[in-house]
């Protein structure tokens, strides 16, 4: 009995937090500051709880739900990311009228992601996917009086509903040809017939929509720009991370016999994603939109790691997601602070930021360096392992294109750094006094960026976990 409960411990913990928040909402007498204190303490507890009994392995509900040490680790990563988002968006949340609802929706989405990561069956996978996307669409509309926010939410719900329709059609065709929905039974029944390849491509399209891989990326930038920064960072880090994890499991386990089909798909899509993401990022002026296109380009790099396959593919992608959580949240945290204190979001308004906010400038710079992949930061090692994993297949055209794209990406990341440090501005952003929460959040991000890169134990640990 206890063992069965322990298998679902992350899910149960998040559910408990959601219930506590619902009770806080009902009582409705506490001030926002108190609620934020309670929520942050609960999320911290949630993270700490995630790290105990990590190496439980097993299945529940006849193989529908399965967990192992790697999945627990992935869930812990998402937990840490959620805590960081909550810390970093303190200033924005403090003045918001619907504070408990924000966390209820965000944690429901997190719960959906946990079920999705642990799924061993297309049914639970689909349920988890929907539970993780529908609340996020509501979250996009959280600045309810802003026009852009509701437009972003509309684009999010329409494109995610459409993509899950396509995904479902793929699943139904797969069921028709194989007669099973279970990931474990699927590999034995795949014959590679044209109908199966067609349904696999539909399934892949559904994934590509959620991951914002290039022909299906058009919703990303609009949604990222229109939503509140906290939601944007949730979408681009946590949501993307969970899809990468389940993508790894389905490709490597359920669709292992179709290795050649998905290798070619990933090859084409990753080249397109890197090039288009980079070219569009070059011309952006809005900081959120810029980070959106940079995150599209990063997905292209993740796809290279995934294409490698095997233990290296899993380890490098998971490691990169760990690095990506810290570096992207660091960048979004700085953008969030500046946006909620001064309302400025364009790159031009960041000129001369160093004169008024030296520490914040350094945080943003280190995060951007890590996103660009400059050596002392973790981003370099993340990209290095991704490319090393991709190179195993011997497809050097792909690696060369990726290397060239990294040079292009340096240009636009450093453009922001130049604006911060070198350019003069008559009216720079005023000095920002963040609260203790925001300082702690940014400190964790910077410490993560540096420690994960310099301390090799992290990669070895993830590599050992990836043996499953």
């Amino acid at each position: 009995m206890i063992n069965e409960l322990l298998l679902m411990k992350s899910e149960l913990a998040v559910t408990a937090v959601i219930f506590i928040l619902l009770f806080i909402k009902i009582s409705d007498t506490t001030s926002n500051e108190t609620v934020l204190k309670i929520v942050n303490a609960l999320l911290l507890l949630n993270v700490a709880f995630g790290f105990c009994c990590m190496d439980t392995t097993g299945e529940l509900f006849s193989g529908m739900f399965k967990t192992n040490a790697l999945m627990s680790f992935e869930k812990n990563m998402l937990n840490i990311g959620t805590l960081l988002i909550s810390l970093l968006s303190y200033e924005w949340l403090r003045n918001h009228r619907h504070l408990p609802e924000f966390f209820v929706l965000m944690l429901s989405s997190l719960l959906g992601m946990f079920f999705m990561i642990s799924s061993g069956n297309f049914l639970i996978f689909y349920l988890g996917l929907e539970l993780s996307t529908i609340p996020v669409a509501a979250l996009c509309n959280f600045d309810m009086e802003k026009k852009q926010s509701s437009e972003a939410a509309m684009k999010m719900i329409m494109s995610s509903a459409f993509s899950s329709g396509i995904l479902l059609f793929g699943i139904s065709m797969m069921y028709g040809t194989t007669g099973t929905l279970s990931f474990a039974e699927l590999p034995m029944l795949l014959t590679g017939s044209p109908l199966q390849v067609f349904s696999f491509i539909l399934l892949f399209t559904g994934f590509a929509f959620k991951l914002s891989v290039v022909p299906f990326h058009l919703w990303t930038a609009d949604v990222y720009e229109g939503s509140p920064v906290a939601v944007t960072s949730f979408l681009s880090v946590i949501s993307k991370g969970s899809i990468v994890f389940i993508f790894l499991t389905t490709l490597y386990n359920a669709f292992a016999p179709m290795g050649e089909v998905w290798y070619n798909l990933i090859f084409l899509l990753s080249v397109a994603t890197m090039i288009v993401g980079n070219l569009f990022a070059l011309r952006q002026q809005n900081m959120k939109r810029f980070l959106a296109f940079s995150s599209i380009a990063q997905v292209g790099f993740i796809l290279i790691g995934i294409s490698g396959g095997g233990q290296n593919g899993t380890a490098s992608s998971v490691y990169f997601m760990l690095v990506y959580i810290f570096s992207n949240l660091g960048a979004f945290g700085a953008v969030q602070l500046i946006s909620s204190f001064s309302g400025k979001e364009t790159i031009d308004s960041y000129k001369g930021l160093y004169q008024t906010n030296p520490l914040l400038s350094w945080v943003l710079t280190i995060s951007l360096f890590s996103l660009a992949g400059i050596p002392p930061t973790a981003g370099f090692f993340g990209k290095f392992f991704l490319l090393a994993s991709g190179a195993e297949k011997g497809n050097y055209i792909l690696i060369t294109i990726a290397a060239l794209n990294m040079i292009v990406s340096l240009y636009y990341y450093l453009r922001v750094v130049r604006a911060i440090f070198m350019e003069k501005n008559e009216q720079p952003v005023a000095a920002i006094q963040g609260s203790i929460y925001e300082k702690a959040g940014l400190l964790i991000c910077v410490a993560g960026i540096i420690a994960v890169g310099l301390y090799s134990h992290f990669y070895e640990y993830i590599y050992a976990l990836s043996a499953f």
């Binding site: 297309f122 049914l123 689909y126 349920l127 929907e130 529908i134 669409a137 509501a138 509309n141 309810m144 009086e145 802003k146 026009k147 852009q148 509701s150 437009e151 972003a152 939410a153 509309m154 684009k155 719900i157 329409m158 509903a161 459409f162 329709g165 396509i166 479902l168 059609f169 699943i171 139904s172 065709m173 069921y175 028709g176 007669g179 099973t180 929905l181 930038a221 609009d222 720009e225 229109g226 569009f280």
Partner: protein
Amino acid sequence: MTGIGLTHILFVSISLFFIGVYGFLTRRNMIMMLMSIELILNSVNLNFIAFNKYLWANKMDGLFFTIFIIAIAAAEAAVAIAIIINLYRSHRSIDVEDASDLKF
């Protein structure tokens, strides 16, 4: 060739799917776009039930999946309509062409 076989049902469901995709891409009214998505989901339901009846009669997976799809489609439509109502308050329109503040 008497009676209705699997092919007939698949023909209907695939037609529904592509009508839905076509409607989603061409309609400019958000409610109509939402209805097109429902068409896609219903084609999936038909698919699952047909496969379950004609090919895998001893299994229940397809039927269960259908029930879950119906429930989730309702949840999705509820959230989508709430968002559309909120959008109508700020834009005074539910035409997607009018919601075009965010571009490129």
